[in-house]
Subunit: 269 residues, 2 copies
DNA sequence: CGCTCGCTTGATCTCCTTCAAGGACAGTGG
DNA sequence: CCACTGTCCTTGAAGGAGATCAAGCGAGCG
């Protein structure tokens, strides 16, 4: 068990400075850095990925970038804002499959899956980068190490989905909520977005409810109970973790499934 | 909407004959055939995969082949029997992530993930084939088309996990149960294991309960309700679908997420 | 024959849903 | 500057799907 400070103290390099970085990095660089957080990426491969050209696009809040049935020709990268992957059930019920923070690559699976069976949309105004499949295919053919990390990234996604399955199937509401907070916090930290035990998490309670498979009402009540413990606070789009060990304890959170490289982060065994 | 017969009539070739095939096919052939069910596999690539050498191993019921924390050196193929992927929660609660029928390849993700974050075990006495990672790596390096299908296979796994997430988060018990039956039935059919609207599904009610995140008691009651509709029967390890359209309707089952090649099977749009 | 494992049934409890409404706040337009 | 409106959060009360606890039953098996 490690305290909150060690988590925050682990400098993730470029993102240590407040607000720095984002605008300055190309789309390719963002992807390269993301891949490097899952394993060793040789300098030459890093450079090759970083050199990829990407189109930047701004999405208004609550608009989709990929839709059920689409056959995408580009891979999406989050540059700022927040994306979510979701489906709408037969009775109009929305299930969110995952959230995607800046620097993450939500749609790598479109490289080898023929069509989307879900939607990818912006929660808040979001800037994304688009890299053509063709460019990535070339990397895959020519750069085994980069290929390995791209592939691994899609596998980690799958591991996260499985964890969401466990969470929503088994855990009572307060544990599930704490668990979601843990995951988003660690992922934010891995992306260099945690600062002073806080990170941005610009969701509404309804989004969280649809992620956990709960109602907004019950999510609200559960949230209040969590707040009263003083362990964590989530207000106006800001997640603040006051007591990381205790939050982990509540959620029984084990970050292994995220397969992050940095052992500092979350006490990988 | 299509009737049950068209589903069953679609000959999947080698498995049309009762009980035939299994013993005769090499481990490599099984993998090659499985990959081919997700896309075009050129003859040369098919041959290369089919030529892979695999060790055959028999697992007693309820024994694990891969364990949380393991770093596998081989890929697992199901030759006969039934595997399940699962984790045990902090309070000893088991969550099953997926079941694996004969001809399926449960553990392809171990190729590029460093260690297991879950368990893979036999439900009933199961024969598996083991192909070394090294051999697969060679295929991946030398055979782009085979690589594409291997990768795709892992992506389809992820899509299935997401569907399980939706099922367990949103659907009431009777729909969830029907949905599981639908999925296993279609997958069995894709593997050539459906015969006369029946397939083997050698689970106990407790396994199903742990897959759906329900209790065994409630699974039992839900099952009885489903039985009384006359749409489907599941007894002594045999799943029989009497009215496929109606079962699909109950579950609101849309097989798109399985990304199967054969359009006959399940009415892909 | 007795034992274990899996299935079944009944009664009670509780977590979460549903329905309904009030309140805080920001944005907009007069 | 203030009413107006929409979005999101909050609160209350009642109902239900599924959990929990407990026990009986049937069949395969050593």
């Amino acid at each position: 068990m490690r305290d909150a400070n060690s988590l925050l103290a682990s400098g993730q390099g470029w993102a240590g400075r407040p607000g720095a970085g984002q605008g300055m990095n190309s789309v390719g660089e963002t992807l390269a850095r993301h891949l490097a957080s899952f394993g060793e990426l040789p300098a030459a491969d890093f450079a090759a990925v970083a050199a990829l050209k990407g189109e930047v696009r701004d999405l208004p809040r609550q608009t989709d970038i990929l839709r059920n049935g689409d056959q995408p020709t580009h891979v999406v990268l989050v540059l700022s804002g927040l994306l979510h992957r979701y489906t709408i059930g037969p009775e109009g019920k929305r299930q969110i499959h995952s959230f995607y923070l800046p620097n993450e690559a939500p749609s790598l699976e479109t490289l080898y899956i023929d069509y989307m069976d879900n939607n990818l949309g912006a929660v808040v105004p979001t800037r994304v980068g688009l890299i053509s499949h063709d460019q990535i295919y070339r990397i895959i053919d020519e750069r085994p190490e980069a290929r390995k990390l791209l592939w691994r990234q899609t596998l980690v996604q799958a591991a996260i989905f499985r964890q969401w399955l466990v969470r929503n199937s088994n855990l009572p509401a307060h544990m599930a909520l704490a668990h979601l907070f843990c995951e988003m916090f660690v992922r934010a930290d891995a992306a260099g977005l945690v600062e002073d035990r806080r990170c941005s998490l610009p969701l509404t309670q309804e989004y969280v409810a649809d992620a956990l498979g709960l109602t907004a009402v019950h999510t609200n009540r559960t949230l209040q109970a969590l707040r009263e413990t003083g362990v964590v606070e989530w207000r106006s789009g800001q997640l603040t973790v006051y007591d990381w060990p205790k939050l982990r304890e509540i959620a029984r959170f084990d970050p292994n499934y995220l397969h992050l490289r940095s052992t500092e982060l979350a006490g990988r065994r």
